[in-house]
Symmetry: C2
Subunit: 464 residues, 2 copies
């Protein structure tokens, strides 16, 4: 946990911002896998962590702004609990560590809220993402779970605070990145012909766990990098394959890292692989150099797309004027997703609070209909203190090509004939994490090799 003052000061800022009513924070529970008592690893809600820091299940908290009261609701251990789970720090003591003096049994939360409701005070709450909290909110507020109506002022105040990272938060993210960088080098050393993708995932998970971290998200470790969210890890590596490894650690305090590297199984890229890899690298570098306060991330995304198109024209897979191609969204046949997203206590930071508040503003709303842009999680103007990912890629998706080709879609920009010979190419992504600084950006964490030469040399020196 951070210092008592950290949590007190964060809550005090929030309280001033929302100005009246009761702020309700729901912690997470231990979620059942296949029966109630067989549970997934516990992960506290990130906003609860941000304002209270206690990584324990079955807690809730309120900040009663009108009465200037902060209370944590939860149950102290019974002797039966102690037999099963061992003696633990009391809730009282845990609460003192985040500067909260008052704790009450969980069962008293409902009546507290009902009381406030009766006095016509507003109960502010955030959008629940776990079903258990949807059910709980329904019970606490005596409404149908479908009528849950999160508080926009509360959301906006939380987003405003959590978007600007404190130095101690940046240090935590860099801890996650130090571990993640080693995970990626280990993956490069582990990969070899005829092992399964899951072997690599298992090895890097082992490394993360050994270094007091978990995965920040289910890792993508695949020879089919073109499948954007690929959980399948049963393929065997063969000569000529590339591995796309998108994985990052989460520190014990909950801060994430999110890195992607793509490298050849056989130690050397083929000519085609090298050429497209360098196209992605150029798009990555172009985007990175553009990062600074005041720039719209949507423009960085489109700039990166333009670099991709220029490279794809050089290779012969696209044609025509790159600027016009990007305006026509022709690049989305190769780059279907967004350039990046906010990162912090969540790998997609605050995604539970709503992309329209985190990655966009009312003045800069999201384009929710255009293929490509509708998957761009971050579009707004950048500010000093933002932490984000930059992750351009090229993904050759046969089903999408077939669909576009059938419609002869944007054929003025796409060389469908040559593209046919790339059907089995796969996908390439390069991803690092950056802090927006007053005068530009800073790469977070150690520098992780990413040029063709560095990767080939590393693979050659460590495997063959």
């Amino acid at each position: 946990m951070f210092s008592v003052q950290t949590y007190q000061s964060r809550r005090s800022t929030l309280q001033k911002q929302v100005s009246s009513g009761v702020l309700l924070f729901l912690g997470n529970i231990e979620n059942p896998i296949n029966f109630e008592h067989n549970t997934y690893p516990f992960r506290q809600d990130s906003t609860f962590l941000y304002y209270f820091g206690i990584p324990a299940p079955y807690l809730a908290a309120i900040i009663d702004i009108d009465n200037d009261k902060t209370i944590i609701f939860g149950n102290e251990l019974s002797i039966d609990d102690i037999v099963w789970t061992g003696q633990q720090e009391s809730l009282k003591d845990k609460s003192l560590k985040c500067g909260v003096q008052e704790t009450r049994p969980f069962a008293q939360l409902a009546s507290y809220l009902q009381q406030a409701k009766k006095s016509d005070r507003t109960i502010h709450y955030l959008p629940p993402y776990q079903s258990s909290n949807k059910l709980l909110l329904g019970e606490l507020l005596q409404v149908n779970p479908k009528e849950i109506n999160p508080s926009v002022p509360f959301i906006k105040a939380v987003v405003a605070q959590r978007s600007i990272k404190e130095n101690q938060e940046i240090a935590e993210i860099e801890k996650a990145l130090a571990v993640s960088t080693e995970m990626h080098l280990l993956a490069m050393r582990t990969a070899q012909v005829s092992i399964q993708e899951r072997h690599i995932a298992a090895a890097i998970q082992h490394y993360a766990y050994d270094h007091n971290c978990n995965f920040a998200y289910p890792p993508i470790v695949t020879v089919h990098g073109e499948i954007l969210h690929n959980a399948y890890q049963q393929n065997f590596l063969k000569e000529g394959d590339m591995i796309l490894n998108d994985s990052g650690a989460e520190t014990a305090m909950g801060y994430a890292a999110d890195l992607t590297r793509t490298f050849p199984v056989s130690g050397r890229f083929t000519t085609r692989q090298r050429d497209l890899y360098n196209v992605v690298l150029k798009a990555f570098e172009g985007a990175r150099e553009r990062l600074k306060p005041g720039v719209q991330f949507k423009d960085v995304h489109l700039l990166s797309a333009r670099h991709l198109v220029e490279g794809l024209v050089d290779v012969g897979l696209m044609k025509g004027d790159p600027e016009e191609a990007v305006q026509a969204h022709a690049h989305t046949l190769f780059f279907q997703c967004g350039l990046g997203h906010m990162m912090g206590l969540d790998v997609h930071d605050m995604e539970d609070l709503g992309e329209q508040y985190v990655g966009y503003t009312e003045q800069e709303p999201k384009d929710t209909s255009t293929f490509g842009l509708k998957s761009l999680r971050l579009g707004r103007e950048l500010q000093t203190g933002f932490v984000l990912t930059v992750e351009p890629g090229i993904y050759i998706i046969p089903e999408l090509i077939d669909r576009w080709k059938k419609e002869n879609k944007l054929s003025q920009f796409i060389n469908y004939d040559l593209l046919e010979s790339y059907r089995d190419f796969g996908g390439i992504r390069i991803e690092d994490n950056f802090l927006i600084t007053n005068d530009g950006f800073r790469l977070l964490g150690p520098e992780l090799i990413k040029s063709v030469e560095d990767i080939e040399n590393y693979r050659t020196n460590h495997v063959q």
Copy 2:
């Protein structure tokens, strides 16, 4: 998956058993960790697996007994889905593999059930354990989630079938045990002074994952074996500690193993450790030899408790007549939990369906108030084809001792003075998995070393 015939025949048996109405099966979803799209590893509901075998999220099925119709409800992939998750086998094809011809979009499930409800037909469903299915049931049946009322005839029919394991299921359990046995040997080789508990857990998880398995449950790997459900793994191993390792693999098809071994960090047990270890081993062997059809498992539990008391009297920690001590539940100061439980597709098999139906019968109800017996998950008469665990233990829990001692509880059986000097002793458990056969029992999986001599020799040969 098993053969088409397997699932058809299981469903046909079930259908005959319940005889009328609509049987509703809800599959599991991908559960959010910290926001909707960051999800825990998917695990299909075990009953859904048993009757339909499809390990994919967002499915439901019905067996409409009155109309002799079986339908799987779920959605085929859209082009957007394919971009993100890759081309996959269609729901239609997956359904054919379990012998179901008819599939419909998920959205049609509600109206199908409403229609049946209007015709006053009974909709049978099982107790939901994931909150998402509590919410879904509420919506589908248009009832408050609190008014959910599972079908006892459906539960009983499922329990009757799943309790008697088929040969192919036993083979799967033995696959899980083959991997688990190696995990336990690896743990013994990995443990050494000054590493953290979590290093061992990470190593055995790596092994499981490398062998196409997951953990069947969160592993307990601890120097505080007296804490029965100990998720904490940050302690450093020291000379003189014992490690209690309770961990088991789950195969890709979902079958579990559940093994526990306790071994000394330093390669040799101390005299006190060896003595109590042998007490537990004798209680284990005594219980095992008693396993056969027709025997009440509650009696096996009490027999095992009696062996424990006899051993504890020999050591001097208990006194008086062992039989009387067990009748007075004096052993529960050392053995607070149950001797074992059913095992299969769940590590506590069918625990979601209710212990009163799985581990007990109406004629043999559970004792839900007596400390010790209230934690015995299985009490009923054993039948050929049951698969269960046997796992006696001795757990020295300081908080519990203090409580009993203050009340001078059962002091005719407890030697509290000597016990004080054991306060930091820890805990020991030995656990294997057995099949009940016509004439007794069969140990499932490979034999895993458990005598003091074998463990000390193995530790000596592989570590020091």
